[in-house]
Each structure stands twice: as structure tokens, then as C-alpha cells.
Amino acid sequence: MRQALIIARRELDGYFATPVAYVFIVIFLVLQGTLTFNAGDFFGRGQADLAPFFEFLPWVFLLLVPAISMRLWAEERRLGTIELLLTLPVTEGQAVIGKFLAAWAFCIIALALTFPFIITVNILGAPDNGVIACGYLGGVLVSGAFLAVGSATSAMTKNQVIAFVLGVAISFVFALSAYPVVTDFLDRNLPVLAEIARRFSVIERFQSFAQGLIRLPDIVFFASFIGFWLFVNAVVIDHDKAS
């Protein structure tokens, strides 16, 4: 774990050493703010909660989170530093976990910077702050899920654009899998799969967090989802790190 944390720290410093971090945070806050205030009608609906905020959060993450994870491995491959990193006394698992933790910590920092929303609703009314905390926990888990996917796609290529597009595409499938677009199609053709698809919906599981429900199956789902994609990541790295 010590090795993973050292790698995570280097990686996190790397985000802030370049403009990437600041551009990302500004874009994230502007996008999330605009959607919540305008599209979500934050003030007009006259309720002291963050429902519109949480409604848009996973979609904004879907678009932006793969932009954080895309460099994790693709950049190492492009620069050749993967050869340096993986010939230091670390295991591939430690490197995969370290990089993932750095990206996750970065997402959590960006999410934490939305705190003015919490202050705002607390000034304007008396919201249930438990529900809000629950929603944030869900947000952290959703970002972790998308990051794990993006980290695995980043390991597959040295081209960051490909890593980004693949990451968004795969995350999109899991985001959308409980929506009628997918389930209606499956109900008609493969009813067995429709039920499975519903269970794999990242967004549906997030919505129960946003309503203030922390359910064990959801936690287990996110933990196994992240674990699975990090495992894929490690397998890909192990299989063709030198290519």
C-alpha cells in the first residue's frame, strides 16, 4: 500500500503541475453550475435540496471523468516512462491502484469545490443535509466507477484521444443500461438480459444515493465494478506493457 500511495502522490502532483487540473476544475464547476441553475431551475422550484444538482452530476462526470483517466497509462506508454515505472520495485497491482487513487482523489477535490451549493441551500432553507451527504457519497462512487473504466481503456493504447473516447463509450453503456432505449430493446429481443442490464445501471444506483438511501447492494455493486475494471487494467498492463 505504501508503494501505491507514493505513486498516487506523484500522479496527483502531476495533475497540478500542468494546466490540466485547473482547466478541468473550472469547466466542471461551470458546467455543473449552469446545468443546475438553468436546466435544473434550482431557484425556481422553491425546494431546499440539491436534487437538480445530483440529477446532472453523473452525466457531467460521464463526459469529464474519462478526461482525467485518459492520461494515466496512455501517457506513460507515449513517454516510455512505463518502462521506468514497472522496473522499479513495485508490482503492477500497486501501480494500477496508485494511479487510480490519484485520479479519484482529484475527482473528490473537484467535487468538494461544489460546496457553495450546500451553503446556498442551507442559507435559503432547511435542507436535509443527510440526504446531501448521501448524494455526494454516490457522486464519489460514480466518479470512481467511470475512472476505473477510463483507467482500463487508457492502458489499452498510447493515444489519449482513443482512451478518452473508449472510456466515454463504455461508461455510457453502463450509465444508460436501465434506460428504456436499452431495456425496451432487450425486453423485446433478449428478456433475460434486460433484467441484468437494469442491475448494471450506474445511474440508477446513483439515484438511490441522491434520494438519501445507502443500500449495501449498491455499495457492493460499486466496489465490485471498480475492482473488476482495475483488474482488467492490470491484466492489460501485464499482457502488453512492452508493446
Partner: protein, 247 residues
């Protein structure tokens, strides 16, 4: 006593192409092995297998008795490795980068500061220690890679073209450094510069098309040519007889 480096029957195939074909050698303390060969002969692939970065198709490699596949982390602890092209993280400063490597190698606090300071002194990086690596010249970047490999004073050093991109003075410094460390370590360097073999190596292996075609002392190799020119020996060994007339 176990050899510091032991390679047996090492083979790597990429599809139907055989990059390294049944390479074997062992290296003891005090030896400096010059690894020679034309481009694409398999030098880098062999070194990568030794560092545990490329999985061999067949054969084995061990560093101080630690098999690089079965005990990769233990093997890498004893190894200082300079990969081809000396890759480093461009946005980090020299000091930040070396501190990162030192932490990964298990150093902390005062021991870490001492190790990093020593590595910086050995490779003469004092003047640029706070500069981002991407702003440095090629020679400095190469020395940062070298500093990273020397940092933990490893018993085994594997350096892929350590003097590539250095000016003649810097080359001289690096060779002096290698010679000074040599009695305590086993060192493998790959190079295209035949004078380098003469200057620092106690032994030279020439590989061509993945196979070892000569394994001798530099003096022994030179003696194969009537005029004792290493260059002629290298050409004679690595160019197939059928092509030699035309060349």
C-alpha cells in the same frame, strides 16, 4: 558465490520474429560487460528481459539469485536500470523526480536526502536540480536517468546506451564514473561506440540477429584483426559473409 547476473537460454519471439535467440551469460562482481550489436540485434530486448519488463518466451534471468519472473520485486531492488532513451517524467523537477524514485526504493527522511544528494553529485546535476526535466538538454536528461539508476547504490547496473547524446566531456565523466563503481558491482552497458568498450569494459559480447556471436575481452576481440581494429572485427562478425563483398 552466486553470479550477480545469470542469464540462461534467454529467448524472445514476437510472432514469428525471433528478437533474442538463446542468449546465455553470467556476470560476476567487478565485471563490466559491453553489449554490442547492430541496431535491432536484440540488445534492448535482452536488457528489458533482465529488468523484468519483457517476459521471455523461453529461458531464465536472475539477479543475485532472484529470478526476474518468480521474484520480480526482489530482483528489481538489486538492480539499477537505465531504459533505452532514458525516459523520465517531463513535468517533474530533477529533485522531485529523484525523491520519488528514492521513496519508491524505500528511503525516507535523512537517508532519502542523503541518497538523492549523492546521486545528484555523482551525475553533476546540482545546477539544474530545481528545473523541470522537460526544460533540460538531452545530455542532462540522460544524466537524470543515470542518477535514478545509481540512486540506491545497486549491486547490479544495467544501462542501455548511457552515453548517448552526451558531449565528449560528459562521456568522459560517465565513463570515469562507471570505472570507479566497477570493482563493487556487475555492470552491463549497451553501446554503439566501440571506443567505449575499450575504455570501460572488461568483457564484450557481440550479438547479431539475436544470437551471441562473440564473447571475449576487448583486447581478445581486437586481436582477431591483424591491425587490432575493433571496428573491423565488429564488421566481420556482424555482417554475413554473403553481404560483405558488396559492402
Amino acid at each position: 558465490m552466486a553470479a550477480l547476473i545469470e542469464i540462461a537460454g534467454l529467448t524472445k519471439r514476437f510472432g514469428s520474429f525471433t528478437a533474442v535467440d538463446d542468449v546465455s551469460f553470467r556476470l560476476d562482481k567487478g565485471e563490466v560487460l559491453g553489449f554490442l550489436g547492430p541496431n535491432g540485434a536484440g540488445k534492448t530486448t535482452t536488457m528489458r528481459m533482465l529488468a523484468g519488463f519483457v517476459m521471455p518466451t523461453a529461458g531464465s534471468a536472475a539477479i543475485i539469485g532472484h529470478d526476474v519472473i518468480a521474484e520480480p520485486v526482489a530482483a528489481r531492488r538489486c538492480l539499477g536500470f537505465l531504459p533505452e532513451g532514458a525516459p523520465t517524467y517531463p513535468e517533474m523537477t530533477v529533485l522531485g523526480f529523484l525523491c520519488f524514485v528514492a521513496r519508491i526504493r524505500g528511503y525516507a527522511g535523512r537517508a532519502l536526502a542523503k541518497r538523492v544528494a549523492e546521486a545528484i553529485a555523482l551525475t553533476q546535476l546540482e545546477s539544474v536540480r530545481l528545473q523541470p526535466i522537460e526544460t533540460l538538454s538531452k545530455g542532462f536528461k540522460r544524466r537524470v536517468g543515470l542518477a535514478q539508476a545509481l540512486l540506491h547504490d545497486p549491486p547490479v547496473l544495467v544501462l542501455d546506451e548511457p552515453t548517448d547524446g552526451l558531449d565528449p566531456n560528459q562521456k568522459h565523466e560517465v565513463r570515469t564514473l562507471i570505472r570507479r563503481m566497477a570493482p563493487e558491482k556487475a555492470i552491463v552497458i549497451s553501446t554503439h561506440l566501440l571506443e567505449e568498450v575499450d575504455a570501460v569494459c572488461t568483457r564484450a559480447i557481440i550479438i547479431a540477429a539475436g544470437r551471441v556471436v562473440a564473447d571475449d575481452t576487448p583486447a581478445g576481440l581486437a586481436a582477431r584483426d591483424p591491425e587490432r581494429r575493433l571496428e573491423e572485427v565488429f564488421r566481420a562478425i556482424t555482417i554475413p559473409p554473403s553481404l560483405r563483398k558488396a559492402a
